[in-house]
Symmetry: D2
Subunit: 133 residues, 4 copies
């Protein structure tokens, strides 16, 4: 809600696009947070050796989602081609991370929560992509 | 809520501390987001030349709040001395940024919203600092 | 050199690919640094109002190059499809930022330096892309 | 060198301070890179379970060094109190991370390299701190 308010109070394009952009900014920021926490929780698990791929993808997903969230926060007046390629990278990493976390969601609740958050970011980025292409 | 759930599902210290940590993680992440948006909105204003200090502080605050949020997301098992000095830096930058944004909150709604978000992060960091020292 | 040493000392894929990865990690990290400094220098210029697009692209480029550098630092054992889409995003943003900075390189020395650094990151990412596809 | 050139070409304070600031910007950026690589190399080690504290500190150190490097890149015209508290946090985290990595530098070459890089960042931040207080 603050995100949307801030978009609406900034001088820039019309409000019709604002909801989708705000949803993606927030979903990516939340995925970045969930992935950072999930990586740390995986690291604390007894079976950490089996969670290496998950920890790496969590870290990659956190970095890319954070960067995407920031780029989108500046995007109202930005280049569409740039937004598009950034969203494509974010869709790819959130999908990969969600798939990895889902594969052991039954064993680790933090992976289940992280997977859900990544799926929401993936959907928000896809919705925005569909609207700008 | 996801933040707190994730803290609670990770193997680590007791739940009594979790609320304060989760509040600080979320408040810092939201301040990072608001500052990135406020910097961009300031840049789009006609009077951008008078908003240089605000844009710089917004950028510094976004970077430090984002880093603080990540460090706290890993902190449950971490060194208290490190958490303390990171929180002190975050309190300093959110206070400075809030003061700057408040000084032209009357003219720019994005600055008013950003100032509020920074104050919430400052308070959350102070509350956590008080609990760990 | 430290970057390459670190890649070579980590358990992972063979050394033949290491030079290209290390070059891209370093070139992206340097572009992130140059863009952050160029954005700040643009902001301090008298003609800041004419440099809005440059400041925004500098900020986007800094964020994406930093994320790309980090993802590549973890990539030796990672998913090729992810590396590919991240490199594509980085090529796009470094090219756009270089073009923007080149357009006023004659007036601002920081833009000339930033453009060169972005072009090096673009080339390093393209070379790595060509090798993995 | 590019870092210093960029500082010197930006409108701001005198060149006498520029060498120390540029040294700290670069040392922190290199520490961020080394820590990201060291965390990933630790994760790939057979004895990953014994390297949990190292992986966490590497991640914290990478995030804080990256943020410090960015804040310093904007600092020429900035608030001294802010620079001070940020440098203090960075000194703390680079020292902790160096100590941790040194403790198993004999076993893991990536930890030895990371420790050296963290010590250089610690020294560069201390030198800058001493000059501004």
């Amino acid at each position: 809600m603050t995100t949307l308010d801030l978009i609406r109070t900034s001088p820039g394009p019309g409000p019709d696009h604002a909801d989708r952009v705000a949803a993606a900014i927030e979903a990516c920021a939340e995925a970045a947070r969930a992935c950072t926490q999930c990586a740390d929780a995986c690291l604390a698990e007894e079976g950490v050796a089996d969670l290496r791929a998950c920890i790496r993808l969590d870290a990659d997903c956190a970095d890319l989602c954070a960067a995407t969230s920031r780029v989108l926060a500046r995007s109202p007046a930005q280049d569409t081609a740039l937004t598009q390629v950034v969203l494509q990278a974010c869709v790819a990493v959130t999908r990969l991370c969600a798939e990895e976390c889902e594969s052991h969601a039954g064993m680790h609740r933090h992976c289940a929560l992280c997977a859900e958050t990544c799926r929401r970011a993936e959907e928000a980025c896809k919705a925005l992509l569909a609207a700008i292409v």
